[in-house]
């Protein structure tokens, strides 16, 4: 088996309460990511889905050490990078890049497109002469479907979709092997969204990097991903191949998420499971299975025992005492 590009073992992040530091007592905090293990294989897209507050963005940032994990290990291309010092880690930064959700907030308004895209090249000492850098920027702009003639303009002259292309050009400028894309298309209009999705798929095929694709739109995920991880309150409740997750999800939460997604087509007697209530606060995680307060099939055992993430014969993993296939999507 080939070595995964990225592997996380028992990764956790606890955000301490400010007041607890101040008062000198440990009243705990929020366990945003709790004991998450996953691996991303070369050239694949692993999507992380879940509702707001489930920890999917925190997970993405942990993997790039944009925030420091409070537990667990991260291996990037076989090297453990979680215990490296910040300066040692810098060498690995160019292997792992990020595209953010908001293309308005993630580009400096006062720098030209050329400066923005060339910055990672300069930071990692990959820039040559001024002329070479400009040639490289022109090449990158062409790759993301923009005209090289725009490189001396400022971000404000571009639409959301064009800005997201610029962000993608910046991320791939240093030839990373792993890219985290945190909701890269959710701020875009529908007609532009398809353009950016197609672009990301084309670039991935061409360059062979792996994606960690964080999203809440299950239809977009189905299109982009090879494998899908479903998160609920900081933990992965189900992870597996796209065909299994969409064809026969085993966790009742996955099933409910899929049935709740609105579809731009006529209702064909699709049975919809409407979950009761809201996601509990991550400060008050329910005992036992954390999904039990909203679960339609919860039983006594779910209150007492936390279900482990068990691996099924087909290699797909699920954390539920009553894991069974829910055949909800008929194609």
């Amino acid at each position: 088996m080939t070595q995964p590009v990225l592997r996380a073992e028992n990764l956790g992040k606890m955000f301490a309460d400010r007041s607890s530091l101040f008062l000198g007592r440990s009243s705990g905090g929020v366990q945003a990511v709790d004991n998450v293990s996953l691996e991303v294989r070369p050239g694949e897209t692993l999507a992380v889905v879940g509702e707001s507050g489930c920890g999917k963005s925190t997970l993405g940032r942990l993997l790039l050490r944009l925030i420091e994990p409070s537990a667990g290990k991260i291996f990037l291309e076989g090297t453990e990078v979680s215990s490296l010092s910040r300066s040692e880690f810098r060498h690995f930064r160019k292997r792992a890049q990020m595209v953010f959700q908001d293309p308005y907030g993630s580009l400096s308004p006062r720098r030209t497109i050329a400066q923005i895209i060339a910055e990672p090249l300069e930071v990692f000492g990959m820039a040559g002469s001024r002329q070479q850098t400009r040639e490289r920027v022109a090449e990158l702009l062409t790759q993301v479907g923009l005209s090289p003639s725009i490189m001396d303009r400022l971000p404000r002259q571009f639409s959301g979709g064009q800005r997201q292309r610029i962000c993608i050009a910046r991320a791939i400028s240093v030839n990373p092997s792993f890219v985290v894309a945190d909701e890269p298309v959710s701020a875009l209009d529908v007609s532009v969204q398809a353009q950016v999705i197609n672009l990301m798929q084309d670039l991935q095929k061409e360059k062979g990097f792996s994606f960690l694709f964080i999203a809440h739109d299950l239809a977009v995920v189905r299109h982009m991903a090879h494998r899908v991880a479903v998160m609920y309150l900081g933990q992965i409740v189900e992870i597996g191949d796209k065909s299994t997750i969409y064809g026969a999800p085993h966790h009742p939460y996955t099933e409910a998420l899929l049935s709740a997604a609105p579809e731009a087509k006529l209702k064909k007697d699709r049975k919809r499971i409407v979950l009761q209530g809201d996601v509990p606060s991550p400060r008050k995680v329910p005992s036992g299975c954390r999904f039990r307060t909203r679960c339609p099939i919860a039983a006594d055992i779910c209150t007492q025992h936390e279900p482990p993430l068990q691996t099924l014969p087909d290699g797909h993993q699920v954390a539920c005492h009553f894991a069974k296939p829910f055949p909800i999507m008929q194609n």
């Binding site: 979709g161 209009d189 239809a219 299109h223 969409y246 409910a256 609105p262 731009a264 194609n331």
Partner: protein, 334 residues
């Protein structure tokens, strides 16, 4: 039967006279009693401007309604003095917005805000009002209403806040509820709850709904009919079945095939080239001309009128409407 609401040839522009930018071009839209109509379009298509115009909530200036009529139950709202509008807002037509937090007052309890809404529009005493509030909170599915009405908006989650907003809008039994992207800020499972609620309320209360959304899936869930807007024009108006089965406008077709679906096995998404034109940049002709793969010369010169393909399906496209005519004519002659 006459329609509950009829918007006829509504034109709206922004900016100083002489340099004004036209953002709505002859918008026509009707809603029957009890009907749920979806208004779909991307950002800048004019869907929110249309709904704000109905309630005369458009900020004037810089906005200006230059022509057209908005007829609600036989009265043209544009002819009414502004001082008559508060009696219509809330009592006849209610509106809910995308971000429920910014629509609620953070320093007033939910109960006080609901009470205020009722007080403004009817003459009930305090105990009647309280009874009505509890009834409304139960109607929108808020558990423990007695305890909840003493709480402040920050103690409510996003979905619960949107329920409060819906309760408030229902306070005076409006005949029409305008919901502007009511679930866009919510998570999928919560969105499903709110859409479910809207559907149930329609059945129970019988009010008409104008649901504004960029998401065709949300609209498919709740509405009977869909109106598609592009760059300030209504480009298609159809019952939901024909819109999804047989879209007539190239923009609608493009939108439908650009959206990935859960049962989709396509390798690649269809993409509409280019992006939405900036307001005011299309001087004549069809605003979709630059992005359209069916375009002909006439499209660049003249805006196509809404052509009726059937009694419930209209689209503004020269190409698909002339095809339709050619087909129906050849059907007659042969």
């Amino acid at each position: 039967m006459t329609n509950l609401l009829e918007i006829n040839d509504l034109c709206v522009e922004f900016g100083p006279a002489g340099h004004a930018i036209k953002v709505l071009h002859n918008v026509n839209l009707s809603i029957a009693h009890g009907e749920a109509v979806g208004l779909v379009g991307e950002s800048g298509s004019g869907k929110s401007i249309t709904s704000l115009s109905v309630l005369r909530l458009l900020s004037e200036p810089p906005g200006r309604i230059t022509s057209g009529k908005i007829v609600f139950e036989g009265r043209n709202l544009l002819d009414l003095p502004r001082s008559d509008m508060p009696a219509i807002r809330g009592r006849e037509i209610a509106m809910i917005f995308q971000e429920p937090m910014s629509s609620l007052n953070p320093v007033m309890t939910i109960g006080a805000q609901l009470s205020e809404a009722i007080m403004l529009h009817s003459e009930q005493n305090e105990s009647q009002r309280k009874k009505r509030i509890l009834e409304l909170l139960k109607l929108v599915g808020i558990p423990e209403p007695e305890a909840r009405l003493k709480q402040y908006p920050h103690e409510f989650s996003g979905g619960m806040r949107q329920r409060v907003m819906i309760a408030m809008s229902l306070a005076c039994d409006p005949k029409l509820l305008i919901a502007d992207e009511p679930t866009t800020a919510l998570d999928v499972t919560i969105q499903a709850q709110v859409l479910d609620l809207l559907r149930q309320l329609r059945e129970r209360v019988g009010m008409a709904v104008l649901l504004i959304s960029h998401d065709l899936g949300v609209v498919a869930d709740v509405c009977d009919r869909v109106v598609v807007m592009y760059a300030g024009h209504v480009v298609e108006d159809a019952d939901i079945a024909s819109l999804f089965d047989n879209p007539k406008h190239p923009y609608t077709r493009g939108l439908l095939s650009a959206v990935p679906s859960l049962s989709d096995t396509r390798e690649r998404l269809y993409q509409i080239p280019g992006s939405v034109p900036a307001p005011g940049s299309v001087k004549r002709g069809c605003p979709f001309y630059d992005r359209c793969d069916l375009r002909k010369d006439i499209c660049n010169n003249e805006m196509p009128p809404l052509h009726a393909h059937s009694s419930t399906h209209k689209a503004a496209c020269w190409v698909t409407s002339s095809d339709a005519e050619a087909v129906s004519q050849s059907g007659v002659t042969t």
